[in-house]
Symmetry: D2
């Protein structure tokens, strides 16, 4: 009997149709292209977003247990589960816990988050450097990540370290909720007296609420406003990581590694 194989791409989720298309669906397509004999499926982990989509659009999207249960019910026997998470944090821990009951029911191959091994940092840094214009004279790049209390939060410092290591000395990484925060970013900018302009980029798969408000918003406590208040010329790029083909190909690579392991 032929083995039925599926690829389940798991994202936090978004309720913005445009963002869904540009980021999540785009990643799904590129990961799927790497595993052409696997049926593509989608799951979101955010209950709030799933409920919002169901209520507003009458559209049902599976969470992880239901997506895996559906694959079991349909007779799939091998499933590559690739998260679009950046870090090995709480969301990924939760995902592993949700997948655990299915390990006896499926040949389940779990892909790792974007930033797991040392090589992943090099790869993401290079993908960003290939996708974005290098910082010009007097210009800094600041990536805004989400941040977390989970110990995986250390990933942000390593990414900045690697960006410097690869030559982008004026690329900085900060987070909304973790360490380093905006204060640390500001301090690091001030240590670079030649910097006059800052380009802000979200370091999130999806450019959603945090990118639009915390990073680029009109409110006086947005990063943009605070940087302008500190005298910097600021430009904001509202593109999630999922909009960069070079980043999407990293998720595809992770899925392939999981498949071949």
């Amino acid at each position: 009997m032929e083995e039925k194989k599926a690829l389940l791409v798991v994202s936090f989720g978004t309720s913005f149709p445009d963002t869904l298309e540009k980021n999540i669906a785009a990643i799904e397509r590129d990961v799927s292209a790497a595993l052409p004999d696997h049926v593509l499926r989608r799951a979101f982990t955010s209950g709030m977003i799933l409920r919002k989509i169901a209520r507003r659009d009458g559209v049902h999207i599976d969470d992880v247990p239901r997506a895996l249960a559906r694959l079991v019910a349909e007779g799939f026997t091998q499933v590559v589960l690739q998260p679009t998470h950046i870090m090995n944090g709480d969301e990924y821990d939760k995902l592993c816990g949700q997948a655990a009951p299915f390990t006896g029911l499926l040949d389940l191959r779990l892909g790792t988050p974007l930033l797991t091994e040392a090589e992943d940092y090099q790869a993401l840094a290079r993908a960003l450097m290939d996708s974005l214009p290098a910082p010009g004279e007097g210009e800094a790049l600041v990536f805004m990540g989400h941040g977390t209390g989970h110990h995986a939060n250390a990933a942000y410092c390593q990414l900045e370290y690697v960006l410097h290591d690869l030559g982008w000395k004026d690329a900085l990484v900060g987070t909304v909720e973790g360490y380093p925060g905006f204060a640390e970013v500001l301090r690091r900018l001030s240590e670079r007296p030649h910097i006059r302009a800052v380009r802000l980029h979200p370091l999130m798969v999806v450019a959603g609420d945090h990118a639009n408000n915390d990073m680029a918003g009109e409110e006086e406590d947005s990063w943009r406003a605070q940087l302008e208040g500190a005298g910097y010329a600021v430009t904001c790029t509202l593109k999630g990581l999922g909009e960069y083909p070079a980043v999407r190909s990293l998720f595809a690579r992770h899925a392939l590694v999981a498949h071949d392991r």
Copy 2:
């Protein structure tokens, strides 16, 4: 949000459409009538039977993991799982093992087999006594069960004990593969010198291969042939337990108890 509730009736299975209808489907209907707000679902545990049905009829029936996974996938949150098994034997142990991964995904309420508590034996004995003519003068009833190496096999002796206790002194219970076997039945008959005639009944949910061949077959080692060879007049009733409404109502009662527990 409204809770979605299902009743999953789990049987060993049969590949005979007629038997399926008269026994398994009949039990399913009666158990379902006791839980009218639960969607009825079917699962079989025998991989051999599932594959035979799929190959022969192109019909897919779920095994337990797929049936439970399907319920999760469809958003059911409460499931009463009622087996049509007679005993707490290997099949039931396997069922419990298969259900275990789903206990975190569903409010799963597991019904017990037909013969679990002392009251169950009284209830089955009474159901049989209500459904069958009492042994006449010089007549014995012999129930043929399946039998197992599992310690639950002791149930057969208790059922015979209870039949005697309730007044049917000439009702005996034997098994094809366990203890007591045919030799013990024959010995017990020979201890009743007034017995001239034997009525054979399967003690199985479905009157299948064992009932048709081991019990009532033309071969010289069938129970019928051996009893006839020993001088008894033999009549065979090829009805599985599932064909008696009084027995079916016991499964319904078990499902209700599981639901209310």
Copy 3:
């Protein structure tokens, strides 16, 4: 490095030093003799008895988790755990649950209760028949078991069945708390009008409270008193099963089977 091997004999327990010596310690010795290269250890499962012994005598006896933990702590790597339980009931289920966390820490080989497979009933019946005088003319033997609501309770009926099957037609089995109870025993006696005398025996490893009071007590609701009230001459034998070498050797055999499995 040499493997350290232990035999852990697990009993419900007793607080009577005499009973401990005659029954439990005697079983332990005989089982131990069958596994001479295993260090012998004891555990009791009854928290009430353990606390009573600790309070009264200042003596600590391990429960199962502590006994197994102690073996891990001392570097034992293979442990044969032999219960002195009669049935696969609640106590044995609890034992299996307590042993489960240790399966990754030890090569744990779990012996079965006295009455598990069909052969076990034959073996126990023969051991009793070898150890006790056969019922004389007009005499019945009644074994009083504990009884339980667990489905394993069916074991009592099978034991009586087997005793009859092996020729002791006037040996009956009843229980204090399960089925068959005293009423069923009395009815079965009344069906044997030739019976004038009853010999009562506990069907318990230890002849403790139930044997001394429920079976042989002076109170009017003891089995002895009720049988005497019904006109039978009654004799009571206050010996637990552990006092019969032939029964003890069955536990030893179970331990050997567990070891060799």
Copy 4:
């Protein structure tokens, strides 16, 4: 009944008696002082070191399963388990796996590694800054950590980030086996043209083989030798983190947090 409480301090281990005393035993003492009503116990996780000590000295030290089993066997009911690990890496994952079977047997309170939350990095950085002389004019500090393929390896970059953030701009962190490695350290030194001298410190609880050989060894591929080859004046401090009271107090604080959680 009074609760028996223990503190189990778990270290990778060392076979050097001097190191054991100065580092591991010193941490144990300080953590123990924070939980004065807990009996102190020791466990090592390195099987190689445990076997070496057993063979050489005839001394047995428990691994984690045996230490926890011993506590169960002795009747302890509450155990604070504090690792002396720096990171949430493979060793800590293994520790959690080994502790898991005991969660049903003990009230087990698991302390976190030295570098878990953002505050931990601040605390360790401050402890180092309080314990060591600040880098002098033209002087850099280089901390050599172990490094790992586990995603927790990102901790090293965050520690360097925090050291800079707190003012020690010329403190660098590298690892023997992970990222950043010596090449990255050397590059960062070369970006600081004013640096002429390097002080090397192990970023390990114990100053063992890595500190003595990979860091400070005479071989030409030691960090010392390579730095000297690159023209730096090098001094090596062969003190493990456990030798700094300020670091030891951090482990004590982690144990208290675990206890109070």
